[in-house]
């Protein structure tokens, strides 16, 4: 058996949706168990009081990166069929900024707002309403944004290509950066706790 399963036709669109639901519920469960159903905890990372989000996300990146690398190396995942979305530098920087400001102000990102709502928090529900409203508004006004949306394209860029570093070396660099960041985050947290 070889991944990606959907691309290889091992199951159809309906099964794909069921898988998405199961994985989504699993994702939500672990977000909640990591404490990410609380807007206070999530916002605390921006004040360096609690860097759990940073550590969890960086752990996820490193885990996925190593998993994809080695699964592909042993022929269990066909990387040529994994299509990352294209990069548009300026619009994505602007999008990231809007996302970040929303995150600091409200305390939730899209996934965690769903987790918060499911666990009975009304501020999470407000975020979901905002998210759906934003999606509808963006979709309806897309013709006005389209020229900006496709500005500065860098299709399917990956760091290895952009920096001209061998793929495996880049994996090592990102892993070392993550390990160093975890140690640094622990130190910052313990110093702030001591204060």
């Amino acid at each position: 058996m070889n991944a990606p399963f959907f691309k290889y036709g091992l199951f159809g669109a309906e099964t794909n949706l069921v898988m998405a639901l199961v994985i989504g519920i699993g994702f939500g469960f672990f977000l909640e168990r990591a404490g990410f159903g609380s807007g206070m905890k999530l916002a605390a990372q921006f004040y360096f009081r609690d860097l759990a989000v940073f550590k969890v996300m960086f752990t996820a990146i490193v885990t996925a990166m190593l998993g994809v690398f080695w699964l592909s190396y042993f022929g269990l995942l066909d990387l040529s069929l994994v299509t990352p979305p294209p990069t548009y530098v300026i619009p994505q920087l602007v999008g990231g900024l809007i996302f970040g400001v929303g995150f600091v102000m409200g305390g939730y990102c899209p996934g965690t707002s769903c987790v918060a709502t499911i666990t009975g928090k009304r501020d999470g529900l407000v975020h979901i309403a905002g998210m759906i409203g934003g999606i509808v508004l963006f979709g309806e006004l897309f013709p006005f944004f389209e020229s900006f949306y496709t500005l500065t394209p860098l299709p399917q860029a990956n760091l290895s290509d952009v920096l001209s570093i061998p793929y495996g070396t880049l994996v090592l660099i990102v892993t070392l950066a993550a390990l160093a960041a975890f140690v640094g985050a622990e130190k910052i947290e313990s110093r702030l706790r001591a204060d």
Binding site: L81, G168, T169
Partner: protein, 210 residues
């Protein structure tokens, strides 16, 4: 919830070891190695099960065949100027990432060389239902959209071809018996409904070749 510090250290050490090994190995995947059953491919070609003709494809589109994916392998400019309705513009290098193995795929190019090559690539990669359009875009135009009827054509075939031509926004013509066969030039710039072109990836760093 407190996590055992010993466990965290083991995880970090595992990540470190895997990353060091990744740096030594260098690339995540070797080029794909596929096994090609040349006898089976030869049988398919000899049995003429590798292609569809323009009229057969036109009937599939008209009947609304549900799993049909039509792939235009020509340049973007050619695709924008005229195309078979519903086709996707995909380059040879993007084929494998743009398609799924469950679909019935019909490939076409201007004449037929590129589509036959693409057919071989997809068959080698294990796509079960792939066909190329015999004669390519040229035959589509001359057989379906702007057909010239010979005097000896049966009335049933004449009706079928006229209906197809009308369905695809073309028109039919009569060929006199002593007139040499020639492909009429398209009289309309585009016969396909204008569609928003799909966003296609420009390149794939891990493109596998067989």
């Amino acid at each position: 919830m407190q996590t055992n510090p010993q466990f965290i250290r083991v995880l970090a050490a595992s990540a470190f070891v895997l990353a060091i090994a990744a740096a030594i190995v260098g690339l995540p995947s070797t080029k794909s190695r596929v096994t090609i059953d040349t006898h089976e491919l030869a049988r398919i070609v000899e049995a003429e099960e590798d292609h569809v003709d323009a009229i057969e494809l036109a009937e599939w589109i008209k009947a609304g065949k549900s799993d049909l994916t039509i792939v235009d392998l020509r340049s973007r400019a050619g695709f924008d100027s005229t195309r078979i309705p519903g086709a996707l513009n995909v380059s040879l290098r993007q084929l494998d990432s743009a398609l799924r193995k469950t679909q019935t795929i019909v490939l076409y190019s201007e004449g037929g060389v590129h589509s036959a090559q693409a057919w071989f690539l997809l068959k080698a990669l294990g796509y079960p239902k792939v066909f190329f359009l015999k004669g390519g875009m040229k035959e589509w135009e001359s057989e379906v959209v702007y057909p010239m009827f010979d005097a000896g054509l049966s009335s049933e075939e004449r009706t079928q071809r006229t209906e197809l031509s009308k369905f695809f926004g073309g028109e039919v013509g009569e060929r006199r018996s002593n007139e040499a066969k020639k492909i009429p030039a398209p009289r309309k710039k585009s016969v396909a409904p204008k569609q928003k072109p799909e966003q296609q990836p420009e390149r794939d760093p891990f493109r596998q070749v067989c």
